[in-house]
């Protein structure tokens, strides 16, 4: 055993990084297929002590999202940078971890008289679960609307989780990835309460907190994260924000069409979204209007005021392309070669 006699690092030291890795997700192309969710689960949380965790998740917005009602659970900072108290999501909030009566229905000859049924990890029939409100959305006929919102840890530039950890177990790597040192974590869950995105998950068997590790063993080999790489919708881009040749830089910094979710939480998140351009709404005479179905106020509630500027740019560029002209931005968003999306992270896994 080593003598522990080091002086305690400052939060500033723990939050410092040389560069910042970032992800862009184009919500116009996400089809809610959950390939990203499954890719992540297979790689990192397909364990008996982690079935309730989805480090990567896709939920229908507007809705309860994932973890359930995370937007009402506090954490993050107010406008002056003061920390805000937060609540801990329950196992059910985290989507539960159902088991099914497969054996009974499929192997015991009961397929005609027994239904396949889920059982909650807490016992009994489930109260809520992952994707419980899938595709419900909002709005009245003929203008219903929703969009898919894929989420993972934002590897924030001002991570509340790092700030909150009483053990100083959470830190940013040089590339901006935020990690929880599993040897130092004692499971106090101050980080879970503090993360306004509720992207830290408690492992009750280990009594440690866990979160998205940005597939760092892959990054170290120039391989994109599993969620980004497995996306069949080509919604995803990743790279360093300061790399002017990267698609993330172009979409976030140059064209300013990719913006963070809930910037008002004050953590400077590094997952950016190309906001959804929804279909034109019908008026009461069933005539198409020039208003999008997703109300401005709804988009603003997720992405802040910046969403209007981003959408205006996107609509104008789309119009150019539609009328036979050129749009460098639309070409970037189409990205015909997948390699163009991932900067230096284009190596194959294996």
């Amino acid at each position: 055993m080593k003598m522990l006699n080091k002086s305690i690092p400052t939060k500033q030291e723990l939050m410092k990084s040389d560069r910042q890795i970032a992800t862009v997700i184009d919500l116009n192309k996400c089809m809610g297929c959950q390939s990203c969710t499954v890719a992540c689960k297979n790689l990192w949380t397909e364990r008996d002590d982690a079935h309730h965790m989805r480090w990567m998740s896709v939920a229908t917005a507007p809705g309860a999202l994932y973890p359930r009602d995370f937007e009402k659970k506090g954490g993050g900072y107010d406008k002056s940078g003061n920390p805000q108290p937060g609540d801990l999501p329950s196992l059910v909030d985290c989507g539960d971890a159902f088991t099914f009566n497969h054996q009974e229905v499929f192997n015991e000859g009961n397929a005609q008289n027994r239904k396949l049924e889920p059982t909650s990890a807490l016992g009994g029939s489930p109260e809520w679960g992952y994707n419980w409100d899938e595709d419900q959305g909002k709005g009245e006929w003929p203008n219903p609307y929703f969009f898919y919102l894929p989420r993972k840890c934002n590897h924030c530039s001002h991570p509340a989780c790092v700030d909150a950890c009483s053990r100083n177990a959470i830190y940013k790597r040089e590339d901006g990835v935020v990690l929880i040192d599993q040897d130092k974590c004692e499971g106090h869950r101050h980080c879970v309460a503090a993360c306004p995105y509720k992207m830290v998950f408690f492992n009750p068997a280990k009594e440690k907190s866990e979160k998205c590790i940005e597939c760092f063993p892959r990054l170290d080999k120039g391989i994109a994260t599993a969620c980004n790489r497995q996306c069949p919708g080509r919604t995803r881009a990743m790279g360093f924000l300061d790399d002017e040749n990267s698609l993330v830089h172009k979409l976030v910094e140059k064209y300013k069409v990719a913006i963070p979710l809930h910037p008002e939480y004050g953590t400077s998140p590094n997952v950016f979204y190309v906001p959804p351009m929804s279909p034109w709404a019908f008026d009461s005479d069933d005539e198409l209007t020039d208003k999008m179905r997703i109300p401005d106020s709804v988009l603003e509630s997720y992405f802040g005021k910046e969403v209007h500027k981003a959408l205006a740019i996107l609509l104008a560029e789309r119009e150019k392309k539609k009328s036979g002209g050129d749009s460098a931005l639309m070409d970037l968003l189409i990205s015909r070669k997948w390699q163009d999306r991932f900067a230096e992270f284009t190596n194959h896994p294996v």
């Binding site: 522990l4 999501p89 909030d93 700030d163 009483s166 100083n168 869950r189 998950f201 009750p204």
Partner: protein, 217 residues
Amino acid sequence: MKVPYINKQSDHFLDPHNELWGQSGAGQFDLVPTPITMVEHLSTFMAMSTEHGKVDQIESRIAHNGKKISVHLSWEDKTRNDEIRDLDQFVDGVAVLFPLTDQADPMTMGDEKNPVNAWFWRANMAEPFDVIAHGFGSSQRRSGKELGLSVASVHENGRWSVVFQRALRAGMFSDRQVSFAPDKVAGISFAVWDGGNDDRSAQKSVSVEWEPLEIEA
């Protein structure tokens, strides 16, 4: 507080209800919520707590049999929180703290030059931890079992009773484990976590000063 010599086998002491505990005088100690601004440097989020540390008193009896020292603790806690079934649950716990130097401050869990040693029990664990700390946030949990620390606990009538037991003299980690000797004055302080109140980390009840121990020959 006096630590009498009681001529009984060690395992008798590990029974919180054993009548021998009637022979050692009980001390009542006031506990206060950790003054949470003291840990603001470790976590501004943790330091927002206003609800922690509701247990305000602990009763302690300490005795030895020449080989082992046993610390009997009991406090009121109406709810028994001894498992983490859901992600938002915390467990009950208790710790006794000992200074390893004359200058160690119990309120800060020592400092870089003045470590403290603690015995730490949590209601969901069969074995206790032996903890070494050089100030808030630096505590290191070590296997109590490997370091010769035993524990027994019962929850009855809305009270926890916990007994820690260890050899009077520290073993191989003697530089970082407290040692007791007859006639030598040592100090002790207490900490209690109420899981039902979401107590954890520095969010706990503490006694503010070292209580001197007089170990009788």
